[in-house]
Assembly symmetry: C2
Homo-oligomer: 220 residues x 2
């Protein structure tokens, strides 16, 4: 026969167990890590509302309005930066992406850009615009291509893929971009940017003979 | 005062709780998902031991032996395919990568390749080699670049990045590749390959006027 004491003890034991399980579940269930894939090309649409706080209805331009696309997603991820943006990009001529980078710089976000030395002067290159805005840009040294196309936002979010930051890539080509917060993927890119930033420091390459050193050390 | 019955009940309650917690922990703790980043260039080294079961000591070529590099990692990931390899690549002229793809085909792995129509005939292109081996290759249609550089192994593993499958990319350029099993990243690429494979089916493009249709539908 069960006494009141025994039943009470059982209830307390079960309650404590449930409490413990809930606590453990909360601890063990990993926070949802952002993992997103964006494909291009995207259709041409107005992105004014992303740069301003105004509704897209107020814009009078002739482009489509209120369109959410891979490109608007990309812009929003870039503009989510609150402390730093490290950008390593082969070709950069897209004016809206340049506007986003300059906007971050004006907001006080630390922006660093590495570009390929040969592609710095492509038609419509935005590198001059970035430099005029006061953003620190370093050109790759060496005789080979700096073919990366990645950005790291706030040392937290990696944006990388096949897409160069050009209009033809965004609106024409078949391209992809991965956006991820997965630490195992983000951390190596933070390290790579750190290495490339130091390697391409112009202060390290004084004389003209140093302007074209052996390329970045091959990885074993 | 605690009776033997009460203590026994307590022990049973605690044991059951522990059992339940262990079960839940096992269920909730996610299996370690493969996430790896490979950077290039890599140094030139012998990769014969990856294709054969022989030790690298037995090879008499003049290249360095026993080197594990980003390139050997890439080769091993590709050769891990047991059922399918879907490859979507802008430029493909690397002979060792071609050898790996042909080896998979000979093993009975279903290999499908999509390449850019303009870059199919680059110097040293391996597309002819793949076709001669009996691998099904589709060229992109349309006037824009098919600029992807990704592979999906066994519908499980995604290999993607800035790296084209060329010797200059592997041994010269600064490049990156992500290798991941993260379903949120792999699944969209499986879908993209499916769409591109259907879109670039030559049977869909009979007449000469159809050879250059409007590019792949832009994504909203």
């Amino acid at each position: 026969m069960w006494t009141v004491k025994e039943v009470g003890l059982g209830v307390v034991a079960v309650s404590l167990s449930v409490e413990l399980i809930v606590l453990l579940v909360r601890r063990l269930r990993p926070r949802r890590t952002l993992n997103e894939v964006l494909f291009f090309p995207t259709e041409t649409a107005c992105v004014e509302h992303i740069f301003t706080s105004r509704s897209s209805d107020t814009c009078l331009c002739l482009l489509a309005h209120g369109v959410e696309s891979s490109f608007t997603r990309l812009l929003r991820h870039i503009l989510s930066a609150s402390s730093s943006l490290d950008l390593c990009i082969f070709a950069f001529s897209h004016m809206d992406l340049s506007r986003a980078v300059c906007m971050l710089h004006r907001r006080g976000v630390t922006v660093r850009v590495i570009v390929d030395k040969d592609y710095v002067a492509i038609t419509g290159s935005q590198i001059g615009v970035l430099r005029k805005a006061g953003i620190c840009v370093r050109r790759s040294v060496g005789s080979v291509f700096m073919h990366h196309k990645f950005a790291v936002v706030d040392r937290r979010l990696l944006i990388t893929g096949s897409l160069n930051w050009t209009l033809s890539a965004v609106q024409g080509n078949m391209e992809n971009i991965l956006v991820t917060e997965e630490p195992d993927l983000v951390k190596p890119f933070i390290k790579e940017f750190h290495n490339l930033w130091a390697h391409n420091d112009p202060a390290r390459h004084h004389s003209s003979s140093d302007q074209n050193p052996a390329h970045f050390t091959a990885r074993a």
